[in-house]
């Protein structure tokens, strides 16, 4: 007899996600991924000045800050024929890279680690043992000192003694499946705190160029931040030197702290390379940070991230990388609270519809999964198939295409962990892939993007704005554009149609939508659901403390505000609410 379990809220994610499960004998047999927030931004950008829209869509998400703004700007530039100078594009690349590194670090330490690390055990650790443990796993992080470990242990002890556990209140402490020894827990908590400090520092790359973070400012046609070395109020050598420091800091933290920690945790929880498999299909248009205006296949712009070609892998066949075709993307609303004019079909983003048709219960409610519709998230499919996007997809694509550095890091990790490439499709594989990608991204930033920017600067290349297409009078009466960007959580695309200087249609297909969407008309589950209930073997030992499914859901790095924005301003939006 199946037992039912609701996990709502799923915490340590962006936004609002509810998971409903049916379990039998300690295994998950059914799962529903339910997105419980809708903001209706699709109607809001309609009729706006296309040069303003980046600021609206930037607010789709504050965790993935910048990425929607850049995707929007690139789509608009593609539509109006604007050509931002190379330096402006390099600046955007640097901002994207810093966002991605920060995002992965925050995700690992602050959103995911507490599924594996028992904070309360850190108080029992011998600080010297924590230093030794760090050394043993190859962590060369400068914070691995006896003094620091002692301090952190005392801090944890103090919090426990106070009886006020703050953000650790109600955690599943003492759960038998917390497997790390006390010294590893202590080291992890120390790095949790160090990571906070690290990210505060390195995100300033976005602040220098965009003036604030989160939500830096961007500009259609380039960047607003002039980079004239001869002016005080311009970005000059002072900021370039600072950025050099932060870029180096980023690489150091990822290399010395994040990657060894991720490998160590993956090693202790090695069975998670056999848990949490989703569909063995992967889609990416390049490595993290790859940005294209228009069809990626036709783009002339290259960067450190475009060495990997856009592609799709089906059924885990790493030997065959299919060319990526944007026309094969369709979105389904079978399980979502929307309706299409044409019925229960898939629609291409270019002709998408967002008609609210809420059939769910009026809150408060207990259970949603008995209905066919149970979420605000659409379900995108590529060539009819659910696919995985994100770090795992990109690393698999890079590995399949023989990207030298990726192959080197992945092979070393596989050897260390004693697993096969096929096992990457798992909860553990997503953790590993995110760390691998964070390292290659930090390296590309430090070794290619930033040095190229500086070299250009030295050569007198200081233009950051294309003024020729700024005025709406220079645009065609009707124009369409699209962009594809590989952002922290996966493949992001924005589409825009501009008529008479105003936005006539706007749409985005977002990484978390690919992953968090529900069932389609053929009964195919979304990747979250498949990862939990695909094989009926996902463990859940104690429904009151659902640690195991949290590990798997968190491995996707959910970003729910992104998932449900579905920007479409085709003037056909309507509302039908039966609550």
């Amino acid at each position: 007899m199946a037992e039912r379990l609701v996990i709502d809220p799923i915490t340590r994610i962006e936004g609002h996600l509810r998971i409903e499960l049916e379990t039998e004998g300690g295994k998950i047999v059914k799962a529903w991924s339910e997105t419980t927030q809708f903001r209706g931004l699709e109607e809001i950008v309609q009729g706006r000045d296309p040069r303003d829209v980046w600021a609206f869509v930037q607010r789709i998400c504050g965790v993935c800050t910048s990425v929607h703004a850049i995707a929007s700007i690139v789509a608009v530039e593609n539509a109006i024929g604007s050509n931002p100078p190379e330096q402006a594009r390099l600046i955007r690349d640097m901002v994207l890279a810093s966002q991605e590194v920060q995002d992965h670090v925050i995700h690992f330490y602050h959103l995911h680690a507490l599924d594996f690390v028992d904070v309360t055990q850190a108080a029992k650790a011998d600080p010297q043992a924590a230093v030794d443990f760090a050394r043993a796993i190859g962590s060369t992080w400068k914070g691995n000192t006896l003094e620091r470990m002692t301090q952190v242990r005392d801090t944890v002890q103090g919090i426990l003694d106070s009886g006020q556990l703050s953000v650790f209140t109600g955690g599943y402490w003492g759960h038998p499946d917390y497997r790390l020894p006390p010294e590893a827990n202590l080291m992890a908590v120390a790095h949790y705190l160090d990571a906070l400090e690290f990210q505060r520092s390195m995100i300033r790359i976005g602040t220098v160029f965009g003036g604030k973070n989160p939500h830096p400012n961007f500009l259609v046609g380039g960047m607003a931040c002039s980079i004239d070395p001869g002016h005080t109020e311009s970005i000059n050598q002072v900021q370039v030197d600072q950025i050099g420091v932060w870029v180096a800091e980023s690489l150091e933290f990822v290399k010395a702290c994040y990657v060894p920690d991720a490998l160590a945790i993956a090693g202790v929880y090695k069975d998670y390379f056999d848990i949490g498999a989703a569909q063995d299909n992967y889609l990416a248009v390049g490595m993290a940070g790859a940005t294209f205006g228009g069809d990626p296949a036709e783009s002339k712009w290259t960067s450190g991230h475009t060495v990997i070609k856009p592609g799709v892998i089906f059924d885990g066949d790493l030997g065959t990388v299919h060319p990526f075709d944007p026309q094969k993307i369709e979105e389904w609303v079978h399980s979502a609270w929307y309706s299409y004019e044409g019925g229960d079909i898939g629609l291409k983003p270019s002709v998408g519809e967002t008609t609210v048709a809420y059939t769910g219960p009026k809150p408060p409610y207990e259970w949603l999964g008995d209905s066919e519709e149970y979420t605000w998230c659409k379900a995108p499919r590529y060539d009819g198939r659910a696919v995985q996007v994100g770090p795992l997809a990109r690393v698999v694509l890079a590995y399949a295409q023989g990207h030298e550095r990726t192959v080197e890091i992945v092979d070393a990790a596989l050897a260390q962990l004693g697993i096969t490439p096929a096992q990457l499709n798992s909860t553990g594989g997503r953790i590993l892939a995110r760390a691998v990608e964070c390292l290659t991204s930090a390296e590309i930033l430090a070794e290619t993007t930033f040095p190229t920017f500086v070299k250009n600067l030295k050569g007198g290349d200081i233009d950051v704005f294309d003024p020729t297409r700024w005025e709406p009078g220079s645009w065609a009466p009707e124009a369409s554009g699209m962009s594809f960007v590989e952002v922290a959580r996966g493949n992001l695309s924005h589409w825009v149609t501009i008529k008479d200087g105003k936005v006539a249609r706007y749409q985005a297909v977002v990484p978390t939508t690919w992953l968090a969407g529900g069932r389609d008309a053929s009964g195919q589950q979304g990747p979250y659901e498949e990862s939990l209930a695909g094989d009926g073997q996902h463990p859940l030992s104690d429904p009151a403390r659902p640690l195991e499914p949290l590990r798997t859901i968190h491995s996707f790095d959910p970003c729910m505000s992104c998932a449900v924005h579905v920007l479409e301003s085709n003037g056909r939006g309507s509302w039908a609410v039966e609550a």
Binding site: D8, R18, I44, R51, T65, D154, F168, M223, E233, A544
Partner: protein, 426 residues
């Protein structure tokens, strides 16, 4: 100085600091910094470091419920980026944040239990995100409950309520036309208690944390303007403290991005800067460890601390309406003052105090015209304010320098449409 509070073992911060080896002298130095922050824009007698130290050292750890409703998590990200000095960590360690979805360890039932237990005690309530009011609350649910229900439950025993970020203050992007989900700010739902509005999309991280530490230090809510924004951070217009102001006065404007004027750091007014109508400490506190700020990075201010900025300040790259053609100083003086009406929220908020619950509500009205932005009537009110009268703002003297807003409520006894509670908490 780098001290860390090695845990909370004694009952007060002062005792804990002493145990951690923090000298009174160093603590005073830090409190001096805090006092400086609080004094910025506060206008009134700046707090002395000793006063701040005495109050701060005596507090115990207040419980906090930190909700995230209909929003993008940018405000939590900004909070994470606040800071720098390790003594600030001490201030953060003062709180026991028992419920916050982004960072808390527990999920599902365990999280809901932590919330229910904290809701049952005195606590500080911080809210990120708006409340979608249409269609019975279906557009944002948490634990199966509507965002409004979640908010009401948490507000019941709250001793202080902070609406942090544009969504919590007025609804922000999702409340922009046509506001499909009926999104509103916290003070549209909670009308029987004062709500401190920490404005911005997102607010500066340090302003978020300083609002909390202000409450702990002063044992009172900060003084606010008519919009509920703490004066210590939102008293001045960007334009008043903009380092590019001299270029505005001299008529040196950026005409096109990355032109010679842009590279020389001239005024961004003509490419759409909303600094003259925007009350925000960006040029003073700056962002991310004092690294830069929007205008400093060459982009015009989009006015994100102002209500309805996505509708009233767009197109972003267009010059502020109804301003062009006025004399330079007249321009600066005419715009922006519609919002300034100093009010006082002098109520005790220490955990256990109940003054807040007795306080009269601050009536907030989303339809309040923002005449200062040029889309309302011209300055004609009897008090000379651009609001058309009645906002309580000190009238800008004609032809003379523009004064700061009145720092106290003492001179504002006339009724205010945006605030009927000048005596609240008394």
């Amino acid at each position: 100085m780098t001290y860390r509070l090695d845990g909370w073992q004694d009952s007060t911060l002062g005792q804990n600091l002493a145990r951690a080896g923090v000298s009174r002298r160093d603590f005073l130095a830090y409190c001096g910094v805090l006092a400086g922050i609080f004094a910025v824009g506060a206008g009134a007698r700046p707090a002395r470091a000793e006063e701040v130290a005495d109050k701060l050292a005596a507090v115990t750890k207040p419980n906090v419920v930190w909700l995230q409703l209909q929003e993008c998590t940018g405000c939590m990200e900004s909070t994470l980026r606040s800071g720098g000095t390790t003594v600030e960590e001490v201030v953060l360690n003062l709180l026991s944040v028992n419920y916050n979805e982004l960072v808390m360890a527990a999920a599902g039932d365990a999280a809901n239990q932590a919330l229910a237990e904290t809701n049952a005690q005195d606590h500080i309530l911080v809210v990120n995100g708006s409340i979608p009011t249409k269609d019975g609350g279906i557009y944002c649910t948490i634990g199966g409950e509507s965002a409004e229900e979640v908010l009401l439950k948490s507000a019941e025993k709250a001793t202080a309520i902070l609406a942090v970020g544009a969504c919590a203050v007025w609804g922000s992007v999702q409340a922009s036309k046509p506001n499909p989900t009926g999104a509103v700010g916290v003070d549209q739902i909670i009308r029987d208690k004062p709500v401190i509005n920490v404005a911005g999309c997102p607010p500066i991280g340090e302003v978020i944390t300083a609002t909390v530490s202000y409450i702990l230090t002063h044992d009172a809510l900060p003084k606010t303007d008519a919009e509920g924004r703490p004066l210590f951070a939102y008293e001045q217009r960007i334009h008043d403290s903009c380092p590019r102001r001299a270029h505005f006065d001299a008529g040196q404007y950026v005409r096109s991005f990355d032109d010679d004027g842009a590279r020389a750091g001239w005024c961004l007014y003509e490419v759409g800067c909303k600094g003259p109508s925007t009350f925000s400490p960006c040029p003073i506190f700056q962002w991310n460890l004092h690294t830069s700020w929007p205008i400093g990075a060459g982009h015009p201010c989009i006015g994100c601390t102002e209500k309805d900025f996505f509708d009233r300040f767009t197109p972003f790259y267009q010059v502020l309406p109804n301003v062009k053609g006025l004399g330079v100083e007249a321009t600066a003086a005419q715009i922006g003052w519609g919002l300034v009406g100093a009010t006082v929220a002098g109520v005790g908020v220490h955990a256990g105090l109940t003054a807040v619950r007795r306080a009269a509500g601050r009536k907030a009205d989303a339809a309040q015209p923002l005449a200062a932005f040029g889309d309302g009537p011209p300055p004609s009110g009897e008090d000379g304010c651009a609001c058309g009268g009645g906002c309580g703002a000190a009238p800008p003297p004609k032809g003379g320098p523009v004064p700061l807003a009145s720092p106290t409520a003492s001179g504002n006894s006339k009724s205010q449409p945006g605030d009927q509670a000048e005596e609240r908490g008394r």
